[in-house]
Symmetry: C2
Subunit: 427 residues, 2 copies
Amino acid sequence: MRLLVIGGSDAGISAGLRARELDPTADVTLLVADRYPNFSICGIPYHVSGDVPDWHHLAHRSAADLDAAGLQLRLEHRAIAVDSDAHTVTATAPAGRSTVIGYDRLIIGTGAVPAVPAIGGLDRLGPADGVHVLHTMDDAFAILRTIAERRVVRVVIVGAGYIGLEMAEALTTRGLTVTLLEQLDQVMPTIDPELAAPLAAHLRDRGVDVGTGVKVHTVGHAATGRLAVGTDDGDHVADLVLVVTGVRPDTDLAASAGAALGVRGAIVVDRGMRTNLPDVYAAGDCVHTYHRLLEQHVYLPLRSTAHKQGRVAGANALGGTATFAGSLGTQAVKVFDRVVATTGLRDTAARAAGFNPATVEITADDHKAYFPGATPIRIRVTGDRTTGQLLGAQLFGHRGAEIANASTPSPPPSATGPPSPTSSTST
Amino acid sequence: MRLLVIGGSDAGISAGLRARELDPTADVTLLVADRYPNFSICGIPYHVSGDVPDWHHLAHRSAADLDAAGLQLRLEHRAIAVDSDAHTVTATAPAGRSTVIGYDRLIIGTGAVPAVPAIGGLDRLGPADGVHVLHTMDDAFAILRTIAERRVVRVVIVGAGYIGLEMAEALTTRGLTVTLLEQLDQVMPTIDPELAAPLAAHLRDRGVDVGTGVKVHTVGHAATGRLAVGTDDGDHVADLVLVVTGVRPDTDLAASAGAALGVRGAIVVDRGMRTNLPDVYAAGDCVHTYHRLLEQHVYLPLRSTAHKQGRVAGANALGGTATFAGSLGTQAVKVFDRVVATTGLRDTAARAAGFNPATVEITADDHKAYFPGATPIRIRVTGDRTTGQLLGAQLFGHRGAEIANASTPSPPPSATGPPSPTSSTST
């Protein structure tokens, strides 16, 4: 059995590892476009901040670990064509060579690429000008190079999703002056404004200039040799501009090979991670993801999801019958000394999906208040009024909040929905 | 509506508060046997340790809070008889007076009392001799008095359940020399031995002399004026002996009134917390508790359960239709710098209940290992092989483990059951 995997990030690596777990004799080859297999994209902000001084530590596993697990890695091999009839993949190798590799089963884990918004100037400017995206280790190195070489003082970050938030922290921690601009009315648009507001306040407390409801329309060179970021709210001068407004699935290769694309252009797979092409599976940020509560596929690029999908693809490529159980979109983000966590559907998403939601908020201490060091956690829980089904939860609290001691919330929770007539709760 | 509540701990207080939430005109009176309404019994070890220097802070709510919520507290009123036909309760008041109080609905929340084991000498010795139990604030004060007055150096704790563990930490923190003796083969008998072993090791690291599989048969005066604890493994000398071998429901009052008793002698209630007596409800450590997975009533005295049952009783006493959803026995215990948490059924309990369980163990970091300060969490998960149902989980980790960042476990988990053929997992 020759299993070929395109991609060396979470989906590809976990697919390969799962295949080798199930069949230690399987011939598993991974084509890795860069030199950084199994690196934590999510960890990049902590290298930029200096929390993780050595970038090698961002690798979940070393090359030696992967080798010991029996994965054959071909670094700097970029797949450029899949022939699913012939069961071959063509890849460019270092020094421009091209190679054709045969397979019995193929797993596509090409991931995502930054979704660059329609902002004037971004088509002409790049890292050499101090204008950056952030999705790969090379992107991280380019940012660090700009910081070093351009003597960066001021940074404008466009987009206050979780990478924007983490990079606002990272660059502030490095001593830079950071302006964080978000087109929507709040930071972290995946949580309720009630929790986004204290998160923005915490960013401001730590010196980040946060602008929400601000549309960036141009980025260009300023007369001073610096960069100018034009918004409908005035101009900002910057030495480095970081555009982190989300990602889109990287599907050029799969689409060229005839793979069907669906929501947001992601590769269509069934819950066994099978594409419409014979013997071709796909997993991770390049595919759509089954949502457990919505009971349909959505585009939901998350590392933990990629990992799970990769394992399903790896098992099934070897003839297994694994099923991806689905995602709830669970996410946790640390921003300075606060953490936001969210799972499932919040009110707006639930209503859009046809539920009849109610959301209540309580504030509970992470441990009993009498014990020193208790910190409050704001918890918003969303349920369906009609069926009583739990739909989702969002938490906002301190980074040091304790994991273990469940605390009884104080008596009457404030509620955005009506109080429930009965209140039997489960552990 | 005159609602009378017997008991001022978690069940009684939450019943009263819930009643007042639903009907701010309800006449809610609580008979509190001591002078410490709504105190955290669970917090006592942290006062003994010195972590909570002022014992007043162990109150979840002050007398003023409870007054503001509309609860009429009668402190030092001990109920001695219930006449459910006449709808009256007789209580002794301070200075030996006796009083009869009428009610429309009654909630019994008398809680539990220490279960003193069959150890020779315990029937004759008490706090004046340095032999203690620990279940009330008065018990705590008595222990502190003994420590101060008897110049305590050595302590023997009999019983390594969670109170024994917490008190071992508390008394060690005070500088005393502690021996912790447990009749069963492990500390914290509610968790698997695989996690109890590192917990015992941590206790020993911190200087606690831990003896498991040790049966204590006598406690008596030693010739030196100290105490002698005789075991089948030799004798221990102590200045203070603390017997914490569990609790039994406090049901003398309810039984005398004709309340039916069930498992382990606990008051029988339905899931609306109704007893067999007209207009009489009961909640908390004095009643049996519906277990969600076992789908039957068991004796499971826990603060969080008492709180929830109290709210159900409070709602239903006012004519509501609340149902106690059931408990999973969720518990978390801090011992020095480690925390153990458990929920649901572990392997042995599941097998005894007729399930076909498998338990697997993984070790995951609390956050990604590349970020400074990651600590491992050992996680044991139990499921049913036949149905795939999740039955329970146990965790062992560091106290400072972070709450928010779910980390991907390293590839092949060690398993006490066979590896699962498919591995689709949910968030």
